[in-house]
């Protein structure tokens, strides 16, 4: 059984339709990259999975259980965590409180504050400052740590490298194998296509709310990917 199965997904912001008949599959432990130009619908796809946008579908199931009309909070408790675009740390919470609140749903598992600090040693000394006092890279680390604190089986990363310096991006990408080694499945939404192709088992390329191309990175030529990306 796949971890996540999506058939014929339509997603809406009021009258505006952002996804059209979208199909998506994710196996246990798998890493999938979702790429596409700005406004293609990548964030909307992640929001549909976490119950944060109005959506209809034939199938939207997690481990065989329909999550179509589940509350966002319940979906987190099932083991789906999100690292949102722009990090979205809570300004009135300290770094450590931001991490702790990631574990709010009380899902048991192997992640703890201690292990997050081992993964991101830079955060340990900054634990009591407000999340917003951190550098962009440290904020992204906190956002990832916060997601890990819910002991997820699936993490959705939205624009993982956006706005970060190349050395920081490298540092962030080095932790993905560690997370993967825990058996955690991942969806990585990324502007940096090369980065995405390096970590992904499969790629989904979105264009104007529709699936333009999908396959394993090795099977897809650069030309086909750019064609799907830019719609040329």
């Amino acid at each position: 059984m796949s971890l996540l199965e999506i058939r014929n997904l339509d997603a809406f912001y009021g009258d505006f339709q952002a996804l059209f008949g979208f199909d998506f599959d994710l196996e246990e432990h798998e890493t999938v990259a979702a790429i596409g130009a700005n406004g293609a619908g990548k964030t909307t796809l992640l929001r549909a999975i976490t119950g944060m946008v109005a959506a209809t579908s034939e199938v939207l199931s997690y481990r065989g259980e329909s999550i179509q009309s589940r509350e966002a909070a319940d979906i987190v408790a099932l083991g789906v965590a999100m690292v949102p675009e722009g990090r979205r740390l809570f300004p009135s919470l300290s770094v450590e409180e931001n991490l702790v609140i990631g574990g709010y749903s009380g899902r048991p598992g192997r992640w703890s504050l201690e292990r997050v600090y081992e993964l991101f040693p830079a955060l340990r000394n900054r634990r009591s400052v407000p999340g917003t006092a951190l550098s962009g890279g440290e904020q992204q680390m906190t956002a990832i740590g916060r997601a890990l604190m819910s002991n997820p089986d699936l993490i959705l990363f939205d624009e993982l490298s956006l706005g970060l310096a190349p050395v920081v991006v490298k540092e962030i990408y080095e932790v993905l194998p560690v997370i993967k080694a825990e058996g955690t499945a991942m969806v990585v939404v990324e502007q940096d296509i090369n980065r995405a192709l390096e970590v992904a088992d499969r790629v989904y390329c979105l264009q104007e709310g529709r699936l333009a191309l999908t396959g394993a990175p090795g099977d897809l030529t650069r030309d086909r990917i750019s064609a799907a990306y830019f719609g040329t």
């Binding site: 976490t50 944060m52 509350e71 966002a72 909070a73 319940d74 987190v76 408790a77 965590a81 999100m82 949102p84 979205r88 809570f90 300004p91 009135s92 919470l93 409180e97 702790v100 609140i101 990631g102 709010y104 749903s105 899902r107 917003t132 916060r146 819910s150």
Partner: protein, 290 residues
């Protein structure tokens, strides 16, 4: 001279009560951006609930809290989840209109059941006892107890907000409701709990009003106004701001009353306006601007 000092001291004591009114209002606004127009009427409702409890069981007003506080907690949760949650959204108007409607309903129900007569919760000999601080300044035992409990509650709330799981959930929801949902925080439940906590404060405030002064079904709107003024004076940064707001309002009213008995409330409003002009975000604003 000592009379002025006395006015200020009495104002501080009254301010503790105002801070209690304000704390409940501030929590609701802070967590869900809802201005609860019915806040004052809920205070009066709590006083009447206490009155009925006292009359039917014969207990002391302080003891009646054992029943009234859980009742108001439950009432707050049900009110929020049954009605107010459905009014919240991008538009600020629906919750205002609905709480205004609730305010009218409570006033009319209380008027229908209890008439417009003024009531009082009888606390016994403690009502007239007092302690002399220095010559010329006597503190009523009851106002003093009310003040001490109010400060202790504000202190407990501040600790609760900063150190507990529920406090973190309140702050996270206040900062960024949609990201808070992504943490597994059930927003409807958190809003219900926030209103429940608010109405526990309302219940305590209502009982204290009932012991300290007369109350009647029409008293709500002015209590709302005091609460509102104290919140704005204090800013929404912390519960200490709320306490400061209550105390400043209480002191201003007492000094006004000292100058001329008719100036009591006017002086409070003037202090409110002056601070609003000088510090539009209050004395202890939230550190971030959104």
């Amino acid at each position: 001279m000592i009379e002025w000092v006395n006015s200020i001291v009495q104002g501080v004591l009254t301010g503790g009560l105002y801070a209690l009114f304000a704390a409940g209002l501030a929590i609701i606004f802070g967590v869900m951006r809802l201005v609860n127009i019915a806040h004052g009427d809920l205070i009066v409702l709590a006083a009447f609930v206490a009155m009925v409890t006292i009359e039917t069981t014969g207990v002391d007003p302080f003891v009646s809290m054992v029943a009234v506080l859980p009742f108001m907690f439950f009432f707050g949760y049900v009110l929020q989840r049954g009605i107010l949650n459905y009014t919240l959204g991008d538009d600020l108007l629906p919750p205002l209109l609905v709480t205004f409607g609730i305010s009218i309903v409570i006033q009319n129900l209380l008027l229908e059941i209890f008439s417009a007569d003024s009531q009082r919760l009888k606390a016994g000999p403690i009502e007239v006892s007092s302690v002399e601080l220095v010559e010329g300044i006597e503190l009523g035992t009851l106002p003093l107890i009310v003040f001490v409990i109010a400060v202790a509650l504000i202190f407990a709330l501040q600790i609760g907000f900063s150190r507990t799981r529920l406090g973190r959930a309140f702050r996270a929801t206040s900062d960024d409701p949609s990201t808070a949902r992504l943490m597994g925080i059930n927003q409807k439940h958190i809003f219900g709990l926030a209103m429940a906590v608010s109405l526990v404060l309302v219940a305590i405030a209502g009982i204290f009003i009932g012991i300290r002064t007369n109350f009647d079904p029409a008293l709500g709107p002015t209590r709302l106004l005091f609460a509102f003024e104290a919140v704005i004076i204090g800013g929404l940064g912390s519960m200490w701001g709320t306490l400061a707001g209550g105390v400043i309002l209480g002191v201003a009213q007492n000094i006004g009353a000292k100058i001329d008995p008719g100036w009591q409330f006017l002086a409070g409003h003037i202090a409110f306006l002056v601070i609003l002009v000088l510090r539009p975000n209050g004395l202890f604003p939230r550190t971030r601007d959104d």
